[in-house]
Amino acid sequence: MKQLLSLGAAALLAIGAPCATYAGVPGDVQTQCGGCHTFNHDYASQPVTERMERKGPPLDYAGNKFQRTWLVAWLQNPVRIRPAGEFPPDHVKSGPDGKDVVDTSTLLKHPVLSAAQAGTTADYLMTLKPFDNLIKAETYQPGTISPRMGEMNFVKFRGCGACHEHAPGKGGLSGPELYTAWKRLQPAFIASYISNDVAWDPHTMMPKSDNSQRSVEKLANYLKVIGGK
């Protein structure tokens, strides 16, 4: 019986190891998260095939990208942002009518962190700011746009709705949902990424369009409008 208890205790310790060691210091975060997320920009110099291997978004510029408040909350309740995962072609099956559908059974679940772990992890991630120059160069000032005009621009004129959901169930599935983007991302990052996504990630799956500053503002303002709902 004692031996059985020892076995059980050992198994529990082994299973619980990631949480127990998730102290939030740089080494721990990189070790625990590095299987799915990259923490340096080396991927930018690798062949495009590296894009097929990603299991989660790069975190090397997390401090230029995320809102800390959102990060802390999300790490404790990690709901899916990308309906088809980080690399959608790996999560596709044939539907009943022969059309491609998302195979949710293959999607990875993000670990849940405690409040303390989420706080220290977010603190570390927010220090990762290699693209301060891109943020400083951004002149976007949040404004507004009518929901109707914003939607028309997003869906019909710019085609963003082909890949991104702008409301639950409305929009494509290959990109991250955007109705939560305003709470998740820094406004300057949103504008900079729309304007020059390749500068952030040369293997981004988002087309680099020649958006004017006004066009970038319209799209960013629409994300603000739908993000406030």
Partner: protein, 129 residues
């Protein structure tokens, strides 16, 4: 003593298993292991809309007002020139009076990339095995 050995072994096994789980797929930089360049680019950038088999029925298609082209449709694709395909990839659907839902990819791809993609589309449509 045996019990201690058992506990230590189990702990070690647990850590090894987790180390492996943390790195499920190390990146393989060898393109040869991912098919030819056009095939790789098509899988990364095109299948979301055009489908993993190029039939125009990708996971985004259900929400699109204009359906993506079926690249396996030999008859339809035979009417397209290589130059026309190059242009629509580089400059988007609007450049040939088609839907703007076909994006402008000229900022993401080199000319060589686009030629490789056109080659892959030709494989899909017209060189079926």
């Amino acid at each position: 003593m045996k019990r201690l050995f058992l506990v230590v072994s189990l702990l070690a096994f647990g850590f090894i298993a987790q180390a492996n789980a943390a790195d499920p797929n190390a990146a393989d930089p060898n393109p040869a292991n991912h098919g030819d360049h056009g095939t790789v680019l098509y899988r990364i950038y095109c299948t979301q809309c055009h489908g993993v088999h190029g039939k125009g029925n990708g996971i985004n298609a259900a929400q699109m007002s204009v359906q993506p082209h079926d690249h396996t449709d030999t008859k339809s694709m035979s009417t397209r020139t290589d130059a026309g395909l190059f242009k629509v990839v580089q400059q988007g659907g609007g450049s040939i009076d088609k839907s703007i839902l076909m994006p402008v990819w000229g900022g993401n791809f080199t000319d060589a990339d686009i030629h490789a993609l056109v080659g892959h589309v030709r494989e899909l449509c017209c060189k079926k095995k």
